[in-house]
């Protein structure tokens, strides 16, 4: 950064580089996060050991 000014005037900041305003800035798209594993409840009849459960026969 340099400052160029004449006596009595406001100092002007002249940066070494500035982005060209005619070029739209491209914001990098964030990488997609891995989706959370979805917990699916196990079918009740697979966990059921009751001999009276009516669904037991269906899975056998």
């Amino acid at each position: 950064m340099i400052r160029a000014h004449q006596p009595g005037s406001q100092p002007i900041d002249v940066p070494e580089t500035i982005p060209n305003p005619a070029i739209p800035r491209t914001v990098p798209t964030p990488e997609p996060r891995p989706s959370e594993p979805i917990k699916v409840p196990a079918p009740q009849h697979l966990l059921c050991f009751s001999s009276s459960c009516p669904a037991r026969d269906e899975v056998r």
Binding site: P15, T17, I18
Partner: protein, 340 residues
């Protein structure tokens, strides 16, 4: 442009750390795109160049790779000459592979000055158009000091290049084995130049800079050497000159942007004054564009009177228009069984 190693050796070395990109590059580095010119690059390293040490050792060591070249940025610790490639895309991939190999950025790195090399020597006026269009079309507007443009060939006895943004070659090695689309649209296997380049010191460059300079250099070289894009090149020159005239910058074209053999005393200063005028105009333009504030309901208002589309937007529009024209027209050529 001397590089004392085989391009395949460089690609093999890059593949050790960038296997996929390096292999793709090795297989396609001579491939032409849309009949545009081949691309050469030089990397001037302003710091101690430590990050390139492993790469240089792998290619045969500094004494073999670097010291064959006397030419470099006057402030640089080293200048690494890369092998020319067939397209801007390959040039960008090559830089990306080097970034991956060294683990350090090359694009937009203030310690790295890129030099872009195009085959064919342009006239003084076309060199001015190349330099001006590069500057206004870049994604970064830069201020310059003369130190930014000094090279070891500034006052060379045989090949003095002065203090300029645009430089001619020093009649070194030249790889002609790249496709050239001739006036009829046929792909010739060799460039029509036995020797001769026009180079541009693009500084800390970007991908867009490489694409833009390749496009503009192609249009200008074809317009002066009767290539397939000669007609488009002439139109481009006329439109660019008109833009400069509208902005009262046409006088910039009369300044020696490249050092010719008949250069006069004081030409370096005349060029630098013109460059500073261009920089000041672009910086002022940037401020004006920022002052365009959005009003309610998405309406825009120009705070200042004058050209509704400033020179920066006009040059972007021009580059976009000619890039699309080349892409569109090249499809017709390839479909008709001409160049490929």
């Amino acid at each position: 442009m001397s590089y004392a190693y085989r391009s395949q050796d460089l690609f093999s070395l890059l593949q050790t750390k960038a296997p996929v990109a390096g292999a793709t590059l090795a297989a396609n580095f001579r491939r032409n795109e849309y009949g545009l010119l081949s691309v050469g690059l030089k990397i001037h390293c302003l710091d101690n160049g430590e990050k390139f040490k492993e790469l240089i050792e792998g290619l045969g060591g500094a004494s073999r790779i670097l010291e064959v070249n006397y030419f470099k940025d006057a402030r640089a610790s080293l200048c690494l000459v890369l092998p020319p490639v067939g397209s801007a895309t390959s040039a960008i991939h090559l830089i990306q592979c080097i970034e991956q190999y060294t683990g350090s950025p090359v694009f937009a790195n203030r310690q790295i000055q890129l030099q872009f090399c195009s085959p064919g020597r342009l006239s003084a006026r076309a060199s001015a158009l190349l330099g001006i269009t590069f500057y206004l079309g870049s994604d970064t507007l830069r201020r310059y000091t003369q130190a930014d443009l000094r090279t070891t060939f500034e006052s060379s006895f045989n090949h003095p290049r002065g203090v300029r943004l645009v430089l001619y070659d020093a009649e070194g090695d030249f790889d002609r084995n790249f496709t050239w689309w001739n006036y009829c649209g046929a792909a010739e296997p060799e460039l029509p130049f036995v020797n001769g380049r026009t180079d541009l010191l693009i500084g800390p460059g970007s991908r867009l800079d490489i694409e833009n300079v390749n496009l503009v250099a192609t249009l200008l070289v074809h317009s002066e050497y009767d290539g397939y894009w000669s007609g488009l090149g002439q139109e481009f020159r006329a439109e660019m000159e008109l833009i400069l005239k509208h902005h009262i910058l046409a006088g910039l074209l009369d300044v020696p942007w490249v050092r010719q053999s008949w250069a006069q005393f004081g030409d370096d200063d005349r060029f630098f004054a013109a460059l500073q005028e261009l920089v000041a105009y672009a910086y002022g333009e940037s401020t004006r564009v920022k002052q365009r504030r959005p009003l309610l309901f998405g309406m825009w208002r120009n705070v200042q009177t004058g050209s509704p589309n400033g020179i920066l937007e006009e040059v972007q529009g021009l580059l976009f228009k000619y890039r699309k024209a080349i892409e569109r027209q090249s499809r017709l050529v390839t479909h008709a069984g001409g160049a490929s």
